[in-house]
Subunit: 350 residues, 2 copies
């Protein structure tokens, strides 16, 4: 795959079709033995000792201590996590977009008109300038053709099948194996301390719901994401939900606090993200009364994962990095704070 595109901006969401960063086709693994894991004491064994790890543990200790003035009731222990680039990787491009492209190719035989119709022709021919010139409308057409027009249950099945057969170009693993081991530990640690963990992502909610329970232990009703409209169809007594070719909600930037309010109904006390798309979620979380924790993941590891921030088309982290420094939010330095990236790289599997 040799495509290289400029980003599409749609409804406040930056979507990059093909990254120009250059794929380091190098499955370098961390061979640390993660000694702490075997001790059964450390709640975050894949995290190196340091500011980020200490800050997380100190926060959890404090808000769960009934004697602390910063104690947070169990009902208020809401933790929200961005997904792309925060719980799983997002390079060389969002995996949901790879799904859309793969699905266009799969469906092409049923749509002979796509051979001469943009943006499909561009996808089928890997014709970048043509794909670019299809603009926002092109991206929307791509999403609708690949995500709508079927029932919810059909879509779920299609995503599951695609994912199980998928193969990341660098790591040669299905995309849902490219989840971050240290973040899995963080989710488990928070839940063990009676936090309710939610995903709040710009990704499609129904795309995520097919696999996040197995990956992260987060049930479908705790996933907030972007969505298309749906409709109830009585379907001759066998009712189904039909997916309609119309945007319902974009859960990105200002949309994230709106989505949190709409789906969760409480202001989080813990928010975790990796891009400027998460900044409003961070600001909203920080502005609540009492102790709050804002956590940015900074992609600094060009060897084991990817290094990108202020100039990246995907997962751009620029204003967020400045505001984190200014406000004293915790920033994970992936290269130095994490002993291992992915679960399949563990030498002592969990």
């Amino acid at each position: 795959m040799k495509l290289c595109l400029k980003p599409f901006i749609y409804a406040g969401m930056v979507l990059v079709l093909f990254s120009c960063n250059g794929i380091v086709d190098n499955s370098t693994v961390d061979n640390s033995t993660v000694d702490d894991r075997t001790m059964g004491q450390d709640p975050l064994p894949s995290w190196n000792e340091g500011k980020a790890k200490s800050a997380i543990i100190n926060f959890v200790d404090e808000v769960t201590d009934p004697k602390s003035s910063n104690f947070v009731e169990v009902a208020d222990r809401i933790a929200t996590f961005d997904n792309d680039g925060n719980l799983w990787s997002e390079q060389p491009m969002y995996y949901q977009l790879i799904f859309a492209i793969d699905r266009v190719k799969q469906l092409a035989a049923e749509h002979p008109d796509w051979k001469t119709q943009q943006p499909f022709q561009a996808v089928l021919e890997n014709d970048i300038p043509a794909l670019l010139s299809s603009g926002h409308k092109g991206l929307l057409d791509l999403v609708m053709a690949t995500h709508a027009g079927i029932t919810a249950e059909e879509f779920d099945k299609i995503v599951k099948e695609w994912l199980s057969g998928s193969n990341h170009p660098r790591f040669h693993q299905p995309f849902n194996k490219l989840i971050y081991q240290p973040m899995l530990e963080l989710l488990t640690y928070l839940r063990a301390n009676d936090f309710k963990t939610f995903i709040v992502s710009g990704g499609g909610v129904d795309f995520m719901r097919t696999w996040v329970t197995e990956a992260y232990g987060i049930p479908p009703d705790q996933v907030v994401g972007s969505s298309i409209k749906t409709a109830f169809d009585y379907n001759d007594g066998n009712p189904v939900i039909r997916r309609l070719p119309e945007i319902d909600f974009i859960d990105d930037k200002e949309g994230k606090p709106v989505g949190i309010h709409k789906f969760i109904g409480k202001r989080p006390v813990f928010a975790s993200g990796n891009s400027d798309g998460d900044l409003q979620m961070m600001q909203y979380t920080a502005a609540g009364s009492g102790k709050r924790f804002m956590l940015y993941l900074h992609h600094t590891d060009s060897v084991r994962e990817w290094a990108y921030d202020r100039e990246s088309y995907i997962g751009k982290l620029d204003k967020g990095l400045d505001e984190a420094a200014e406000k004293g939010w915790t920033v994970i330095d992936m290269k130095n704070d994490w002993k291992v990236i992915y679960p399949f790289q563990l030498t002592v599997p969990n």
Copy 2:
């Protein structure tokens, strides 16, 4: 209060401002001792033995038995409950509408123009023909003037204050005390069997979220309801969610399965409602694979609560009653199946 209105139909939702049923101003209480409660064995002590109770218990026994062919995995144990007329009473009119009317009266001093502007003038003067003639637009104006234009946190505070000072005209209790003791036991019983219990109601989601956790043990993120749009406001560094005067979603009739899909992301295995507004939720639940349970509450108790069904402006149960009979769904006969209606009537408090 002597108002008597015809229903407004708005976006598929029947809203009755003032019922013509005639309020039986008679706080008749059930003085049953609820003997079973003291035995500590019966999971539904406020339910008389009978078809409804047996059907519920048999269903739960079956789907939680790993040896049964109808076993349902814990992750799939999704139970959805309508609220108005199903978990709490809805007569003589929806309590959220009483909130809106009370709020108009409370805000009237700040809005001198309301004295000559419909539908506010009608509410302030109890002028029924004028209120009626304001139609759908009038109801919408009423909702927007009382539910929008403030922050989410302000609205939450306003509802809480209103509720604590509210007084039901017949039972002389705050409205949130008019919850059904047998349904509380059912919610507890299902949760004890690892069901996740959700509210799926035509009522306003943020109105419900202020009090349902205390009333039913259901957290805010497990409440699906109708909503107005909201927006993120950075608010000079103190971000808030602002409530906008525009309908976002109506969670009624066909909207209920859509809301279930949107917020829960799974088809329920257990659905409970009391009106034709719940019929599509029942149909959607029934059409899933494996064992399912559909439960209608039939208001048959004109002495202890209210008796209404096919002809009622509020909570009309007509098509649902026919379909329940035809499909063999369970119907609660309130008069005969329930030993007691409200928790405050228990002679041996739980």
